[in-house]
């Protein structure tokens, strides 16, 4: 399993490569990309040269679904993408189907590979088949799918030489479906103050009085309500929504042959990025070591046990 690391500064490339990054990805302000913090556009050509010199690949995220553009603006976007394609970007990460269509067929085909972003989440093999028509070479799976649920997608991809990529579960993992979430757009609601922890997903409110019953639709199941209210209150005050991604699912994905592990928090500082990539490298190393010496179930159990005590320094 290889590591795909984000970067937003030329200075980050070497230390990240030393920490264990096998591939790099970034985003630039002039092309619609999901998430915050970009590489200055003027540094992109140098980044391509530098990643090649390091013997690594570089992809560019153009994966914001909100790719609203007049024909003139779209012309500028497509022109810029074609220029970067000529310049040596190895892959473009797209989510918007119309952009995928624009660059996928016949003479319009880019030299670079096309990766399907997790912002266009694939939760089933039919969806994978739908997007296969755009000659995608990799599917970046959303974090809200279990390894068990992904089995058929992984089989589909394996038999069609489509690579698969997952997100690291410790440093990333929104509870809501990426690309289907409006929680970060306060245009529809009024903020009382600045967002807590920069995110509306993590409410972190004090327990008590947060949840109120609105409708009771089935009175004869009313006995279940206290338990449900308690569960929601816990989720909104402490842990958040249940996570499908954990050490066990990571190991299952690893053992199923998923080829890439992404670390994608572009807003992290350089030292944090390097430390996290080092952590991922060590985690993959552990999974490799355990898998080569034990049967799968035993290796998985040992991996989960190790990971439970891992990361003592914390992030």
């Amino acid at each position: 399993m290889k590591i795909v690391s984000c970067f937003t500064d030329l200075k980050e490339l070497e230390p990240l490569a030393e920490a264990g990054a096998d591939e790099f990805y970034t985003a630039v302000g002039e092309l619609p990309a999901f998430g915050s913090k970009n590489l200055p556009s003027t540094d992109l050509a140098a980044a391509i040269i530098k990643t090649k010199a390091l013997g690594k690949k570089i992809s560019l995220a153009v994966n914001d679904l909100h790719a609203t553009a007049t024909d003139k603006q779209l012309g500028a976007i497509t022109g810029r993408i074609r220029d970067l394609d000529k310049l040596g970007v190895d892959a473009f990460i797209f989510s918007n189907p119309y952009l995928l269509e624009l660059f996928s067929g016949g003479r319009k085909r880019l030299r670079a590979e096309l990766h399907l972003s997790s912002v266009q989440p694939v939760f089933n093999s039919l969806s994978a088949a739908f997007f296969q028509r755009f000659n995608i070479s990799r599917i970046i799976l959303p974090n809200q799918i279990s390894s068990h649920e992904a089995r058929k997608i992984l089989y589909f991809c394996r038999t069609r030489s489509i690579e698969t990529e997952i997100f690291d579960y410790r440093f990333f993992g929104c509870a809501y479906v990426n690309g289907r979430c409006q929680l970060h757009h306060p245009i529809h609601f009024t903020l009382k103050s600045a967002m807590l922890n920069d995110s509306l997903c993590h409410i972190n409110a004090k327990p008590g009085g947060l949840i109120k019953l609105r409708n009771l639709d089935i009175p004869n199941r009313a006995g279940e309500l206290p338990g449900i209210i308690n569960r929601i209150e816990n989720r909104f005050t402490r842990r958040g929504s249940p996570r499908l991604s954990n050490a066990a699912t990571f190991f299952d994905f690893f053992a199923s042959g998923v080829q890439y592990l992404k670390y994608g928090t572009r807003s992290d500082r350089q030292e944090v990025k390097v430390k996290k990539v080092g952590e991922l490298r060590a985690m993959i190393g552990l999974a490799e070591k355990l898998s080569s010496s034990r049967p799968r179930t035993k290796a998985s159990q040992a991996f989960i046990l190790e990971l439970a005590h891992w990361n003592k320094d914390g992030f």
Binding site: H66, F123, E149, V177, H185, S193, L200, L210, R214, I218
Partner: protein
């Protein structure tokens, strides 16, 4: 041209609607019924086929809502599609009076493989592929995306009210490469689906660190009730039903139905509950 009026019952059965005393009013007030689970595959149920047939028998048009799909949901939806096809073949369902709303590209693929004779609509969970509604209106991204969906047979898009009369970029369609006559909008009110998760806030149990979840399981807790949340950073109340968080906009946001036609809304769908 009059605005078509629909009601979104979702997973509420006609029997439950009757029990609550609302069936007669719904039959009088609405010409189109929206049935089926829009946000969760765990609620996919073949019994909706009989309701579709019955409602069509009463002269009503139907739209079947379908959710985001995992492999499990895809299997359930496939068998639902096959049942519908049988009913069409047996003359029990008129394909012209049934639309399917899709919220997953896998459902589009499934509809194609089954050669469904029904019109497809792009559901609310797909809306950001076409529209930017994270502004004070609905902006079509570009004509190319409308063309893309049109090639899939989709020209109707489902959107939620945003509480105000939305600004649109349809009049400047020529700059964005589209003609406003090529698509229509179905507008749901009074709830805006703000965000959606697979791991249901209400129903799903926590996954222990040592456990690899098989999928999303629940006891259909969303059918029991909905909840209001006081978010410490947000003035408005958030509403939770199952795996989806909503905002409610109870105030009327348009002066006349004619105004809605100017923004391509030719169908209004009332949701009695989030």
């Amino acid at each position: 041209m009059a605005i078509e009026k629909g009601i979104r019952l979702g997973t509420m059965t006609l029997a439950d609607l009757k029990k609550s005393g609302g069936l007669e009013a719904a039959m009088r007030g609405f010409t189109r019924f929206y049935l089926g689970p829009e946000f969760c595959e765990n609620l996919l149920d073949g019994s909706v086929c009989a309701e579709i047939a019955w409602l069509q028998g009463q002269g009503k048009k139907i739209c079947l809502l379908t959710p985001l799909l995992s492999e499990k949901g895809a299997r359930l939806l496939n068998s639902l599609f096959k049942r519908l096809l049988k009913l069409v073949k047996g003359g029990k369902i008129d394909p012209a009076g049934l639309e399917i709303t899709v919220n997953d590209f896998g459902a589009i693929e499934l509809a194609k493989r089954n050669r469904l004779p029904f019109k497809l609509n792009a559901g609310r969970l797909l809306r950001n592929n076409v529209f930017d509604d994270a502004v004070d209106g609905f902006k079509v991204h570009n004509g190319r995306v409308l063309e893309f969906f049109s090639k899939l047979g989709i020209t109707r898009y489902e959107l939620s009210t945003i509480g105000i009369f939305p600004k649109v970029n349809f009049a400047s369609g020529r700059f964005y490469g589209f003609n406003r006559r090529t698509f229509k909008i179905t507008l749901y009110y009074p709830y805006l689906d703000l965000t959606n998760t697979r791991t249901c806030l209400v129903g799903m149990r926590d996954v222990p660190p040592e456990g690899s979840a098989l999928g999303v399981t629940c006891a259909r807790e969303c059918l029991i009730s909905s909840f209001e949340i006081t978010h410490p950073s947000i003035r408005e109340k958030l509403l939770v039903r199952g795996n989806t968080i909503f905002l409610e906009f109870p105030d009327k946001f348009y002066a006349s139905e004619k105004d809605l036609l100017t923004i391509n809304v030719d169908r209004l769908v009332y949701a009695p509950f989030p």
